[in-house]
């Protein structure tokens, strides 16, 4: 193994991202979940910066800045405010117990690594081997979403999935074209605002943020 130092750092950051995804998957407390999300955003920013610096892809600097502002500064503070306003510092109940979730998570990681392997071998980027990790992060965030019964953790899972996708974009292709990245960021922002409004309304209607109340609509 003779990788340049920048690749090694990217690999390390990728591993951190995966670790953070797992931490989010197994986290019970909502505040820690938000902090982990911010930390994930920061790791993502750092890895994008390292990629930008080592490959000389200038648009990645913008992408990193966008990630930093959106995922480290704005969204976590919005989420914190949301939690404060809802005065809801509850523990997050998971629908499946945590050790089982972890095992499922490991299975997903193995799946993601295997799926990404042929593509990594074809990609020409210095970050190619991290594509599997990116996919694993997406899947783990998905798992985080479906194992939570409360609205806010589901939203955080959704945002974490977005993080994984951005990481996938950097690792597979050195980022998408700028116009697309801005579009994605815009969608995330708007989606966040809508969800924020929604969360308040759900609480108003159901007096709770438990998504299990939202099970009236189903096939008889």
């Amino acid at each position: 193994m003779n990788l340049p130092l920048s690749s090694q750092i990217i690999n390390l950051l990728a591993a951190m991202l995966l670790l953070l995804s797992f931490a989010m998957l197994t986290q019970r407390r909502i505040l820690s979940l938000i902090n982990l999300f911010a930390l994930q955003g920061l790791t993502l920013t750092l890895s994008t910066l390292v990629v930008a610096w080592s490959t000389g892809q200038h648009h990645l600097y913008y992408s990193a800045a966008l990630t930093f502002v959106l995922k480290v500064l704005i969204l976590p503070s919005v989420l914190h405010r949301l939690i404060r306003k809802l005065s809801a510092k509850w523990d997050v109940e998971t629908l499946i117990n945590i050790p089982t979730t972890m095992l499922v998570g490991i299975a997903l990681v193995i799946l993601a690594f295997n799926v990404a392997l042929p593509i990594s071998q074809l990609a020409g980027t210095i970050t190619k081997s991290t594509l599997g990790i990116a996919l694993a992060c997406v899947l783990l965030a998905f798992l985080t979403m479906i194992t939570r019964s409360k609205a806010v953790p589901q939203v955080i899972g959704f945002l974490a999935m977005e993080n994984g996708l951005v990481f996938a974009a950097t690792s597979a292709t050195y980022g998408m074209p700028m116009v697309v990245e801005f579009g994605i960021a815009l969608d995330v922002m708007v989606g966040m605002v809508i969800l924020g409004v929604f969360i308040f309304q759900i609480r108003e209607r159901f007096d709770s943020l438990d998504i299990r109340h939202l099970e009236q609509l189903k096939e008889e």
Partner: protein, 484 residues
Amino acid sequence: MNWQIYLVLGTPLLGSILAALWGHKSWAAGLNIAISIGTFIAAAALTAHIISEGPVVTADEQFFVDSLNVFLVALTAFVSMTTSLFSRPYMRIEHAHGKLSDNRLRLFHSMYQLFVFTMLLVLLTNNLGILWVALEAATLTTVLLVSLYRTPASLEAAWKYFILCGVGIAQALFGTILLYSASEKVLGSGGSALLWTHLETVAGSLEPTVMSLAFVFLLVGYGTKVGLVPLHNWLPDAHAEGPTPVSAVLSGLLLNVALYALLRCKVLVDGALRAPFASQLMMGFGLLSVVVAAFFLSRQKDVKRMFAYSSVEHMGLITFAFGMGGPIANFAGLLHMTVHSLTKSAIFFAVGHAAQKAGTQIMDDIRGLMKVSPTVGWGLMLGSIAILGLPPFGVFASEFLILTTAMRLQPWATPFLLVALGVAFAAVFSKVQPMVFGETNARRLPHPPALVPVFAHLAIVLTLGFYIPPYLVDWYREAAKLIG
């Protein structure tokens, strides 16, 4: 320079801003109609231009129009226009019944125009990344539309819709990233590697492994929005709990637009793989959707849910047709897209008024529409007959084409299709018949219902069943050729 495209996109965008400012005024519904008519005229101009001049690439290659998407642009503009005509009296009645405040009406008008804008953007953009962004934006606007009543059920439906489609569309983004990583090697990094016109020319040299994986993600992602089983869970809820004009455009337009996104990707994957991988996946998902949705139809109690499942069934049929591929199946698929859009939105118009008259959406409680309002009753009856594929309506023609092609190309699938269509027929007919005929319990409405759109749509569908004008045939053939 092509001014029609800007007009097509600019009119609804401007409209949404105007509606955001004045959407609560009493004349806002008229404004909504005026903008929609404007959009339709622009779309018609664009269509005429494309038909006479051929495909257009414009605005630094960011927009691209050929006969495939211009046909959908025309359809989208038309149905959104008729829906705006229908929504005027419908929303007035809802307002009079106290279900909506002025502010909600403003939100509705603004989001409706924005939704039309995002759909047109999906159709017209040449950039597969922007396509994704626009489709996600379409999801966001419809989330607000579905939750318009803010009842617990509508909030639940909107939440489910947002989360499911959000997850789905995230998969599509991953697919797009993979697609970009494949194309970047051929086209070089930067803007042009996501432009469809460029991609199409180099489809043969794209890396097959990456492309096949990308298609799996794209199919899951956009397939969620198309409503393919097993990713269809959001669809019945969103249709049942949103306002009826929204159900009409969801079924009639959004599903088509999502399928269009999938088709564009399929062309690339087919080019890269030279194997029927994408086709087989689409046929599999399509057939599954047809069969599952048909069996779910009979179990529905809510009329809008039932017709939502019927949409799943028909989208499955169209996906199956495109999966089979070839000139005839693609032709049939495009025709079915058209007639399904028109018929289903007509049905939702009729169903909307029927539900208002009966004061409920539960089918057992809607009785004898013919007595109080023959027009609504006939609209519902004829619409149901049309959607079930009875001759002489256009749905019969397209379904007949799909079935005969299936017999020729994929004989194994034909029995499933026939059984599913039979089950669907029995289910829908037996439920609609007592709603239309028999004793009534309906009430009078404070405003006259809008029935012109219903019969206009049904008339077109009926005409298409008898006679497809030659220029339309050429147009469909052209578009069918593009899909391959």
